[in-house]
């Protein structure tokens, strides 16, 4: 019984490790291709996706709020 359980646990652990390696590789591919290419495009088109401005001479950092009025939408 202990032996069978041990084998089962071993397989389970092995399976989990394989899954995490596969996940890592897949996410690395998504990251390099998906995020990487978008980064290059953003750089070419000079898109500023995050505003890091600090002491850039403006009088205020407030920005007007744009209300999302469709509450059924998730965006």
């Amino acid at each position: 019984m202990n032996f069978v359980q041990g084998v089962k646990d071993g397989f389970k652990e092995f399976g989990e490790r394989v899954t995490s390696v596969v996940n890592f590789v897949l996410l690395l591919i998504v990251y390099v291709i998906g995020v990487g290419i978008t980064t290059i495009l953003a750089k070419i088109t000079k898109q500023k996706l995050l505003d890091f401005s600090f002491k850039d001479g403006r009088d205020s950092y407030w920005v007007d709020h744009k209300e999302e009025v469709d509450y059924t939408k998730q965006f």
Partner: protein
């Protein structure tokens, strides 16, 4: 009409249920799963809310989520794109949960609740603002929300009149006062999203003047404009692409990062003081500007920064506002309630008809349920014949150095124990801080305990605003203790002479109020120590089992559940050492 509000997947997950615009049940998920600050989908909290009113999910008219997930995911993707390739690790750690859970709210509702009805998504800061204003006593108010981050916004200000609630302006990620506070919390060796209040508690030990050498350094990190808007110098932070928070530049300027086991030095204390000063400066500037814009003297605040009770205690004295409201669960936990209220009052346009004056929205247990639990587990107990007998016995036990576990009525909503799941003891005893720490809390020496006082006695002992603001009932305001009283209540007096008091009004919790008054008759000081009823590292207790387990694993002497009275020493068979299991 039933509306369920849900908040989860970031900070404290929670659920709140409205019946015709009135809150009937609300609770944080952590209380059921026993995992502190649990962020998972709040299945248990939802089930509790539904059970409380005896309905199933198909009877819900609306379910409202506390943020717009796709908008938030957009911000996260933008972070990864901007910080490529340095953001890979954070991408690897967070993106799978977005794909599997966070972007599938409707599916989750169907799967866990079999709910297939209308689902609304309100913006995170709208939920924050609603969580305060729509249950406040005001018919109009200026609104300020400050937290770590929602979808994009980290700080917003707005105005509400009737059920018209408008956010006017905002500051967006990565600039965030909340994340600045969290970054310094991490730097000082404390747990982010958990121990920010410890940094706040440490700050009075540092130099609270501008001569503090770290004040000027801290001030360099943040540019605060005269209109209260601000920006952070992001070269001092890495939270926009890493799981950690301060950058190597921050460490270069402020010195080596403290590990949690390192001793707290003058440098750490001065840094915490500088942070608190800068935070207050930014908040006061925002509020002064908000007043100029709205010309309204009522103020509602929300967001994690609204839990900064030291700053809150100074707000009315440093701004033109005359009245303030903050709800007990001012952080993300409270946004489930805000989302539900926003749906009822703003989206559906129903009249504002509810004012929240107490925090008792969680589970409660009948005498029958408690007795059944005690009998089934062969626990020795006695039962008081009347509340009068209970109050007299417990007050005299507190006076004779006993620590009491106090379990009464519905569990509190929000992070503070407010007299439903509290540990009570004697603040006049100079040894009590050490006794409590030794027996139960094992917390950092620099943190004093919090006092509870009847609202009608507050002005005698504390230099509080007049009239005493409602948020004081939720332990959200720190005020100076009057000089004559400081030496009389040493275990609740902070190094700067302040106390984070809870005030209690008899209409909200009669038994608790009477106990404090009775203790006042015996000791001549109508104040008790009130600290949260939990084992270190665990959430506040919820059920009789949790309460009993907590007493038996710590040094709490007696447990009072409704009128049941249980002595730890009478039940040696169940004693255990919670400290050997404590995680925090």
């Amino acid at each position: 009409m039933y509306i369920l509000g849900i908040s989860c997947y970031y900070h404290d997950a929670s659920a709140a249920l409205l019946k015709d615009g009135v809150i009937v049940a609300a609770a944080e998920e952590e209380r059921f799963t026993r995992k502190k600050h649990d962020i998972s989908f709040p299945t248990n909290a939802i089930n509790y809310c539904l059970k409380e009113v005896g309905i199933s999910a198909d009877k819900l008219d609306y379910v409202t989520f506390y943020e717009k997930p796709f908008l938030k995911f957009e911000r996260i993707l933008y972070q990864h794109i901007t910080m490529f390739p340095r953001s890979f690790w954070s991408f690897y750690k967070t993106v799978p949960s977005w794909v599997n859970e966070r972007l599938r709210i409707r599916r989750m509702l169907k799967k866990t609740l079999k709910y297939d009805g209308k689902v609304f998504f309100v913006e995170h800061h709208q939920a924050h603002a609603a969580s305060s204003y729509l249950i406040s006593p005001f018919d109009k108010a200026a609104l300020l929300t400050v937290d770590g981050v929602g979808e994009w916004a980290t700080t917003t200000f707005g105005y509400a009149k009737g059920t018209d609630l408008k956010i006017m302006k905002e500051i967006n990620f990565p600039h965030s006062l909340g994340l600045l506070y969290s970054a310094v919390t991490a730097y000082l060796g404390f747990k982010v999203n958990n121990s920010e209040y410890k940094v706040m508690g440490l700050s009075p030990y540092g130099n609270r003047t501008k001569s503090n050498p770290y004040y000027a350094k801290m001030r360099k990190l943040i540019d605060i404009k005269p209109d209260g808007s601000y920006a952070l110098d992001m070269s001092y932070f890495v939270y926009h692409y890493k799981m950690s928070m301060p950058s190597s530049k921050f460490v270069k300027v402020f010195g080596p990062t403290r590990k949690w086991s390192d001793p707290l030095t003058k440098r750490h204390k001065d840094i915490s003081a500088a942070l608190q000063m800068v935070t207050e400066e930014a908040i006061f500037a925002m509020l002064n500007s908000l007043y100029k814009e709205t010309k309204c003297t009522n103020l509602c605040i929300a967001g994690g920064c609204a839990l900064n009770s030291v700053a809150n205690g100074k707000l009315l004295r440093n701004t033109p506002f005359k009245k303030i409201y903050i709800q007990p669960s001012a952080g993300d936990g409270g946004t489930s309630m805000g989302a539900a209220l926003y749906t009822y009052n703003v989206i559906l346009g129903k009249k504002k008809r509810y004012v929240l004056t107490d925090a008792f929205f969680g589970p409660q247990f009948t005498d029958r349920q408690i007795k059944k639990f005690l009998d089934r587990n062969k626990i020795k107990y006695t039962q008081f014949k009347s509340d009068k007998e209970l109050v007299k016995t417990v007050a005299s036990l507190i006076k004779t150095e006993n620590v009491i576990g106090w379990f009464q009525g519905r569990m509190e909503w929000g992070p503070r124990a407010l007299g439903a799941r509290s540990i009570l003891s004697d603040p006049t005893n100079p040894k009590m801080q050490d006794i409590l720490n030794l027996k139960v809390k094992h917390r950092e020496k620099f943190r004093p305990f919090a006092p509870v006082i009847c609202a009608d006695d507050a002005k005698t002992y504390f230099e509080c605003d007049e009239p005493v603001p409602v948020p004081t009932d939720f332990m959200l305001m720190v005020y100076p203790i009057k000089k004559f009283a400081r030496s009389k209540v040493p275990s609740i007096t902070h190094v700067d002479g302040s106390g984070r008091l809870q005030t209690i009004r008899r209409k909200d919790n009669q038994l608790y109020y009477d106990l404090i008054k009775e203790f006042g008759k015996i000791s001549k000081i109508p104040i008790l120590i009130n600290t949260s009823f939990n084992i270190r590292g665990e959430p506040i207790v919820c059920t009789p089992f949790h309460a009993y387990r907590c007493m038996m694993g710590t040094g709490i002497d007696y447990l009072v559940m409704n009128r049941f009275f249980i002595g730890r020493a009478d039940n040696p068979q169940h004693m255990w050492d919670s400290e050997s299991h404590a995680k925090d």
